[in-house]
């Protein structure tokens, strides 16, 4: 496992904090179907002493609501209470790794079991939407444009690497994804929920907002002074970020991503990929995070998703997530692969319940 003691401590802390709350249907029964977050008691989000909207604090974005609407819910963007309870149970069942219904291999591949699971990851969003994507209206990423032969080839090579990894037979470290290699994880936009460590610490100073995602310990330090983006020959793993205030909303635009395989979300085209994120504090304990991705070289139209963020108890702390420093996984994967090769194993179809290579 890639996660270390500090992580497990954080996971335990989060778990302990949530333990008294029922896991299923905690808040849904008291609300009418699809009640928007704004129906909560209105309170004026504060301002910093220098007058900016105050987003400071540690926020958590965990939810089980999928990015894309599942096929069987086509045409159903919001669920009523009863449907929502079913959906929540269903998605939780799909996410949990403490099942024993897949045999030995599946058990091993579900190694990140309940202990690692952020309990909030098992709850759908309070608005009972069936996808985090809110535009297009079908809750799905738009169709791809025809990809150039070079990009098709790059995707095919990536798929080959994933197959080798999932078969337990990676050739080398480059057959693993950037998250497995501890290069980027949820620190690169868009911020999407994962099974653990879904915290984000927001700091502010006059002229800056800084977002420190729990995983991996990087900080996006966002200048608000309208300066131009970096030159177009300077690229970064997390891109180059500029921000401004639109009323109470922090608007963050990010470009200049590196072209390394896997850096840009969903294999978009680094030269044309642009993501705009909007952070709006709704009340003392809630912030709405919305992102829009535009990449005319990849998707036929822009698309937008929305995720509620919940402020964690201020008495709780976010701990360091040291990923690479104890990344024993890489050596285990590679020495395991060499041992399998000696036994004559070859790459076949992935086993049931295989962990994904952490593709973004």
């Amino acid at each position: 496992m890639t996660s270390r003691s500090a992580t497990s401590l954080a996971a335990l802390a989060v778990f302990a904090w949530l333990a008294p709350a029922p896991l299923v249907g905690q808040t849904s029964s008291a609300k009418p179907a699809g009640s928007p977050k704004s129906a909560k008691k209105a309170s004026t989000p504060g301002r910093t002493p220098w007058g900016d909207p105050d987003l400071q604090g540690v926020w958590n974005d965990a939810t089980s609501t999928p990015l894309q609407r599942p096929g069987e819910l086509a045409g159903k963007d919001v669920l009523n209470d009863e449907e929502a309870a079913d959906f929540q149970q269903q998605t939780a069942q799909g996410l949990t790794r403490d099942r024993r219904d897949g045999g030995k291999d599946a058990d091993v591949n579900r190694a990140y079991n309940e202990h690692w699971m952020d309990a909030r990851r098992l709850k759908i969003t309070e608005d009972h939407r069936t996808s985090l994507i809110v535009d297009p209206a079908d809750g799905r990423m738009p169709p791809l444009v025809p990809l150039s032969p070079d990009r098709q080839q790059a995707r095919a090579m990536r798929a080959g690497a994933n197959t080798r990894f999932n078969a337990g037979l990676p050739n080398d470290v480059y057959d693993m994804s950037l998250p497995v290699r501890c290069i980027i994880r949820t620190d690169s936009p868009p911020y999407l929920p994962t099974i653990y460590n879904n915290n984000f610490h927001i700091f502010q100073s006059p002229g800056y907002v800084a977002i420190a995602p729990e995983m991996i310990h990087s900080a996006r330090i966002i200048p608000l002074d309208s300066r131009p983006h970096l030159g177009n020959s300077l690229h970064q793993w997390l891109g180059d970020t500029r921000g401004h205030w639109d009323g109470n909303t922090l608007v963050v635009e990010t470009t200049n991503f590196r072209s390394d395989d896997g850096v840009v979300f969903q294999g978009g085209n680094p030269a044309t990929f642009r993501i705009t994120e909007r952070f709006t504090r709704v009340d003392a304990d809630t912030l709405t995070y919305q992102f829009t991705i535009e990449d005319p070289a990849t998707w036929t139209r822009p698309w937008t998703a929305r995720i509620p963020w919940t402020r964690i108890d201020p008495a709780e702390q976010m701990y360091e997530y040291a990923c690479h420093e104890d990344n024993f996984d890489i050596v285990h994967f590679l020495t395991g692969a060499r041992a399998r090769e000696k036994r004559g194993e070859t790459v076949g179809p992935p086993p049931a319940g295989a962990a994904t290579a952490g593709e973004r």
Binding site: S5, A6, L9, T48, P49, W50, D54, Q56, G57, N171, D172, V173, Y174, R181, C182, I183, I184, D187, H201, F203, Q204, S205, P206, Y208, A210, A212, I216, H217, S218, A219, I221, P223, R227, P228, L230, L234, Q236, W237, L238, D260, Q317, M318, Y319, E320, A322, H324, E325, D326, F328, I330, V331, L334, T335, A337, R338, E341
Partner: protein
């Protein structure tokens, strides 16, 4: 003389907490006031019997202040009559009096991108120019510059066994063995492997870092090197809840100085490429003092009873990076170390990227 008394009250907290021998060799007018190797502040601290002397002064104002003044006697008066009337002592005393701009809560504004320009990452002690590793391929690219040390008194007070260990560390600094979980961290400089550098090393690596200081009880310090970050928890009470590569940082203000107490650091970090090291008993107290709009004086008091014979100190200036539109750029070095760490586990004749 109300003027002098109020000046003394302002000056004392900094003076006392600055404590033992912050001044470097002969730079400090007070040096001659105490016996060799001790300082006025250390003796006063002992006589008052509290480690938090300065806070006592700040809280109790004139009464404690007056006692301290009395016990200090003539030497203190001599001290304050020197060029340091504004309250900066130790390494900061060489600069003219300076009052930093304030943030909203009234504390000095340390926001900005800062960088050290010492060569201490090669060796925090004095070091001569050297060819560096693999001169047969690296030539002058890999050579290392000479530098004057940042350790007060010139050398780290190692226990005898620890000095041997430091030499072993240096000899094997470029050895990497990740073949088993047990030997993973046993040899080699963590910087070579792109591990988070810990404190204080992060401060004098040849990369900038940024301080983000607002109105919350948390201050962020973000370092370019491997995107390491640390959260400074202001006035946090209690011990480090767990070990971390960048430790657990508790901050407080003493006058215009940001003081950060760092514990809970992983024992594997080193202090430089020369193999200087510590144990799990590592305790670092950092002090960031603004002395101009463009300079901070950085000081660190380091103790580790398992490795050193006594606490010791380092100091150097931090410079504000002034380039227009400068921003902290990523140095995610993991991809640059993977071949070194994992190359030998590659499939024979496998695809090489």
């Amino acid at each position: 003389m109300p003027g002098l008394v109020s000046r003394l009250r302002r000056a004392l907290p900094n003076f006392l907490e600055r404590g033992a021998g912050m001044a470097r060799r002969g730079e400090r007018p007070c040096r001659r006031a105490g016996p060799r190797g001790t300082t006025v502040a250390a003796r006063v601290g002992a006589s008052v019997g509290a480690s938090g002397v300065a806070r006592g002064v700040a809280r109790n104002g004139a009464r404690v202040g007056a006692n301290v003044v009395a016990s200090l006697g003539a030497s203190l008066v001599l001290c304050l009559a020197g060029p340091s009337l504004a309250g900066q002592q130790g390494p900061a005393a060489q600069f003219p009096a300076y009052k930093a701009p304030r943030v909203a809560d009234g504390h000095p504004d340390l926001n900005g991108i800062w960088q050290a320009f010492v060569t201490a990452n090669f060796d925090i002690g004095d070091h001569e120019a050297q060819p560096g590793p693999h001169p047969e391929i690296m030539g002058a690219y890999g050579a290392e510059p000479a530098g004057q040390g940042i350790v007060e008194g010139g050398s780290i007070p190692y226990q005898p066994w620890a000095l041997d260990r430091k030499k072993q560390n240096f000899a094997a600094r470029m050895t990497v063995d990740v073949s088993s979980d047990k030997t993973w961290h046993a040899v080699g400089d963590p910087e070579l492997k792109c591990y988070m550098p810990g404190v204080p090393r992060a401060t004098y690596m040849p990369f900038p870092f940024q301080i983000v200081q607002g109105s919350s009880p948390y201050i962020l310090i973000a370092y370019a090197f491997t995107s390491a970050t640390r959260t400074i928890r202001m006035n946090w009470k209690g011990d480090a809840p767990t070990d971390a590569w960048m430790g657990w940082s508790r901050g407080r203000w003493e006058g215009d100085t940001l003081v950060i107490d760092v514990t809970g650091q992983r024992e594997e970090t080193w202090l430089d490429r020369a193999g200087d090291f510590h144990s799990d008993a590592f305790h670092v107290v950092e002090r960031y003092t603004p002395v101009s709009p463009y300079h901070l004086i950085y000081e660190a008091t380091i103790e580790d009873p398992k490795v050193y014979t006594r606490p010791w100190k380092m100091s150097f200036p931090l410079y504000r990076r002034m380039e227009k539109n400068l921003q902290l750029l990523e140095f995610k070095c993991v991809p640059f170390t993977e071949e070194l760490l994992y190359g030998k586990f590659r499939k024979p004749n496998g695809d090489v990227k």
